[in-house]
Symmetry: C2
Subunit: 145 residues, 2 copies
DNA sequence: GATGAAATTGCCTTGGG
DNA sequence: CCCAAGGCAATTTCATC
């Protein structure tokens, strides 16, 4: 990852649908040179993909929660990931320091759907109990710059 | 937003660099028809933009934390937002139910940078104290599907 | 559908190891 | 000397009217 790769990534973070020529004009490369770099960054996994930023209200998924997960005994992170990734309402999850084992970020259309998803998580054999806070209003949601 | 718009958004969430023809093949429309819908969704604000998903390790911002914020007395959400948005390490924030007033998601290059950012937050006049958990390993990070 | 722009590919050049 | 990376040009595909 040289400094040019960083600039290319910066352009794509700002607008993932920019043409290679536009990116090239920003960073000082020809369009094919940019394409080759982007292809390489995707192949190497540095760029995981491209996505759209959607106004959450439009999707109608307005009920958001952060859930602390407490497990029974010791659970491997990989095992936890497998349990959580089957629940589509889970948009993020990470193992954390402190008394909880993991912090899970969930998004659902309403409280009812959130409750059903929570039940699915609690039913996992390695999950002991959960502790949730509901999001009242989202203050900041920056795309990882 | 009819069901076709939903499908179009689904395609763009999956791959923001898909061509209009590719999206059309998925959803059963011609390329120009898809373009008109995408243009309309962008103009209406339903699609806020397009971005790349970058492996956080590559950016070198590997230190991540979730911080519960406890305020003095009652603080308006808007006031809290103004305080937090001046700290670039804050990538997300929301007011929440429970004993904490807000949950703040932070990303920094290392623990030292994280600590400095936390100090800035604690120095805000309306902040009483904070309680942080550090992310050990990220299990899931789904683009809002 | 037609026209112009963009993506993609092959080939050659150049600079650094 | 070889390899990695870039530019140029030709072709195919896409965007756009």
């Amino acid at each position: 990852m040289d400094p040019l790769d960083g600039k290319v990534i910066g352009c794509l973070l700002h607008n993932a649908r920019a043409t290679f020529a536009e990116i090239g004009a920003e960073v000082g490369l020809s369009a094919p040179a940019v394409k080759r770099r982007v292809d390489r960054l995707v192949a190497s996994g540095a760029i995981r993909g491209f996505t759209a930023l959607i106004d959450p209200d439009v999707l109608g998924w307005q009920t958001e929660a952060y859930v602390e997960l407490y497990c029974k005994g010791t659970v491997a992170p990989e095992e936890l990931r497998r349990s959580l990734e089957r629940v589509p309402e889970v948009v993020g999850a990470a193992t954390v320091s402190g008394t909880a084992d993991a912090l899970v970020h969930m998004l659902a259309s309403d409280v009812k759907q959130l409750e059903r998803a929570l039940e699915r998580i609690r039913d996992e054999p390695n999950v002991d109990h959960t502790r949730s806070v509901i999001v009242l209003s989202r203050l900041i949601d920056r795309p990882r710059t």
